[in-house]
């Protein structure tokens, strides 16, 4: 079986990001999974156990003192080197901000095909087949890379639930340097403080989102209270983001995150087409809105025409009683 590379993202301090499990699982469906990771000199060994746990048969560590100071170029060089050494049939990355930039440049550098934002992958003989979910899930499209080079695939974060079996990986360590003049330089990293133990929005099984109907940042706490009562992640409409109730990273929709949870609760959200594009594949949709004509009701399994400030507290109380 040929190799399939999974590019592992890490934090500035070198911790493995949580997309690793999904990516190694995706790679294992396409070949022998090799985790490729960039690390500061001397820190790569520490990652082996964790990546083996996630199913990597081999760990390819590119060590460089440019880790954390040069934007994406070291990662690109690492994948280029690993690809030359292992001749993989596929290279999978997260469809993250960094993942896209690396994947795009890599596809041009290796002169090979690129399949982006895929929600599933499979191997059909030697051919990599990727599934895309297009226009907010309105269409499912399958595509392949016919050429000889490795197929480069970015996987939507949280889209693949499968996990690979634990392995005892072999280790390859390579040292790399890139020409800093041809790359962007990182001046400062501010990792957001993850304050709560609320589930992450991407890949969450339950989501409670709030819109402009919440009226203020202070009132948006109601959305968080319901989310906590349901063990759900918190999302928002673009109007709520624009009004500053919540950060942009909570935006669900066309230009935000696409979610596909078991339960989606929309509070004070009108359901504009661009919002629906990010949540209409949810299994069950619940909407509470004062306006009986709000378009969100067209796709809601359970719609309540009412005021969120009276309905939601009652709901939270009822949920509490059931526990």
């Amino acid at each position: 079986m040929s190799h399939a590379l999974a590019f592992i993202e890490t934090s500035a301090s070198g911790e493995v990001r949580n997309t690793a499990a999904m990516l190694i699982a995706a790679a294992s469906k396409l070949g022998t999974p090799v985790a490729v990771v960039v690390a500061a000199p001397g820190t790569g060994d520490a990652l082996i156990a964790e990546l083996g746990e996630l199913g990597a048969a081999q760990v390819y560590v590119a060590e460089t003192d440019q880790f954390g100071s040069v934007l994406v170029a070291p990662q690109l060089a690492a994948l280029e080197a690993a690809s030359a050494a292992l001749q993989p049939s596929a290279i999978v990355l997260a469809h993250s901000i960094d993942g896209r930039e690396i994947a795009g440049r890599l596809a041009v550098r290796l002169r090979t095909g690129l399949l982006v934002d895929v929600v599933d992958v499979r191997a059909d003989g030697d051919v990599v087949v990727a599934t895309h979910s297009v226009f907010g899930g309105a269409y499912t499209v399958e595509a392949t890379v016919p050429g000889a080079g490795p197929a480069i695939v970015t996987v939507r974060q949280g889209a693949i639930d499968a996990r690979a079996e634990t392995a005892s990986p072999t280790l390859t360590t390579q040292s790399i340097t890139v020409d800093p003049a041809s790359a962007a330089v990182i001046d400062e990293v501010h990792d957001a403080v993850v304050a709560t133990d609320r589930p992450e929005l991407r890949g969450a099984t339950r989501v409670v989102s709030g819109g402009r109907g919440l009226g203020s940042q202070a009132n948006f706490a109601l959305v968080e209270q319901l989310a906590d009562a349901l063990g759900a992640a918190v999302g928002a409409s673009r109007a709520a983001v624009d009004a500053g109730y919540v950060p942009q990273t909570s935006q669900v929709g066309q230009t935000g995150i696409t979610v596909s949870p078991q339960l989606y609760v929309a509070l004070g959200i009108s359901g504009a087409i661009q919002h629906r594009a990010g949540m209409q594949t949810a299994k069950t949709i619940v909407a509470i809105n004062k306006d009986a004509d709000a378009p969100i009701f067209d796709i809601a399994d359970f719609g309540i025409v009412g005021d969120v400030f009276t309905v939601v507290p009652q709901l939270i109380e009822a949920l509490g009683k059931r526990e």
């Binding site: 962007a184 673009r238 942009q248």
Partner: protein, 256 residues
């Protein structure tokens, strides 16, 4: 400073967008085509710099004949000139080809800075700017929430899934900007009148020194299926007990 802004024509997100299930391609006749909102913001970033400094702003788009409207709007907003790459052989181009052709047009035109939208609303790829940067052999900084110009370099704040990163690069470079970057201006009457006299050049593959032979598609769509539309379920009007009813509904569906 010469700034090239990449503007893409997309189906209006306000309407239903359809794929031709036989070819997997966008059915352009099924929806209104507009300039992607994110590219108006990219243009705005360039125009705000031009408002205060000496700069030439060129709007560049690759696409069918309807793209002219998008470029006219860019000119009306304030771009100095427009470039349209148009060739029947480009129909159904994939990411690799789009990036190669746009990079060839950028090279031919010459540039100090390329500004793109972070991701198009139709494909949601968000990879074209990086691919172009690789073709051009220059630094890229994608997904910038803010952009700061300095002589010979460009800096900004890039928001990612985990926080923010401050970055800078020397020029020439390619950047892409997010929804947080700049609210686009509306073209005014004077702008619209002036736009009529501004140059709008059309380039074919031959003008770019490219031919169709080297362009085997690097990706192939093998199937396209449409998901059945969602329908409305139960809808109640709150008469004082809706919160409790919703709790019942969630319990019945084993959602709590």
């Amino acid at each position: 400073m010469k700034i090239i802004v990449l503007v893409k024509q997309v189906p209006d997100t306000w309407g239903e967008r359809t794929l031709d299930t036989a070819t997997g391609r966008l059915d352009r006749s099924a929806s209104d085509a507009v300039i992607d909102e994110i590219d108006e913001r990219a243009l705005e970033v360039a125009l705000q710099y031009k408002d205060g400094q000496d700069a030439e702003v060129v709007a560049l788009s690759m696409g069918p004949s309807t793209v002219t409207e998008v470029l006219r709007k860019s000119l009306a907003m304030g771009a100095d000139s427009a470039l349209h790459v148009r060739d029947d052989a480009l129909l159904g181009s994939d990411l690799s080809r789009t990036a190669a052709v746009l990079a060839a047009a950028i090279t031919k035109s010459g540039f100090d800075l390329v500004i793109a939208g972070n991701e198009a609303t139709d494909g949601r790829g968000g990879v074209i700017p990086a691919m172009i940067a690789e073709h051009l052999g220059v630094p890229s900084m994608t997904y910038l929430d803010t952009v700061e110009f300095a002589p010979g370099s460009i800096s900004g704040v890039r928001g990612d899934e985990h926080g923010t990163v401050s970055v800078h690069a020397s020029l020439p470079a390619v950047i892409s900007v997010t929804e947080a970057s700049a609210e686009a201006r509306f073209p005014n009457f004077k702008g619209i009148m002036k736009a009529k006299k501004k140059p709008l050049d059309v380039w074919t593959l031959a003008d770019l020194g490219l031919d169709d032979s080297g362009f085997a598609p690097s990706t192939v769509v093998t199937s396209t299926t449409e998901r059945p539309a969602r329908t409305a379920g139960k809808k109640i009007v709150d008469e004082g007990n809706a919160g409790n009813e919703l709790a019942e509904f969630l319990a019945a569906g084993r959602l709590i």
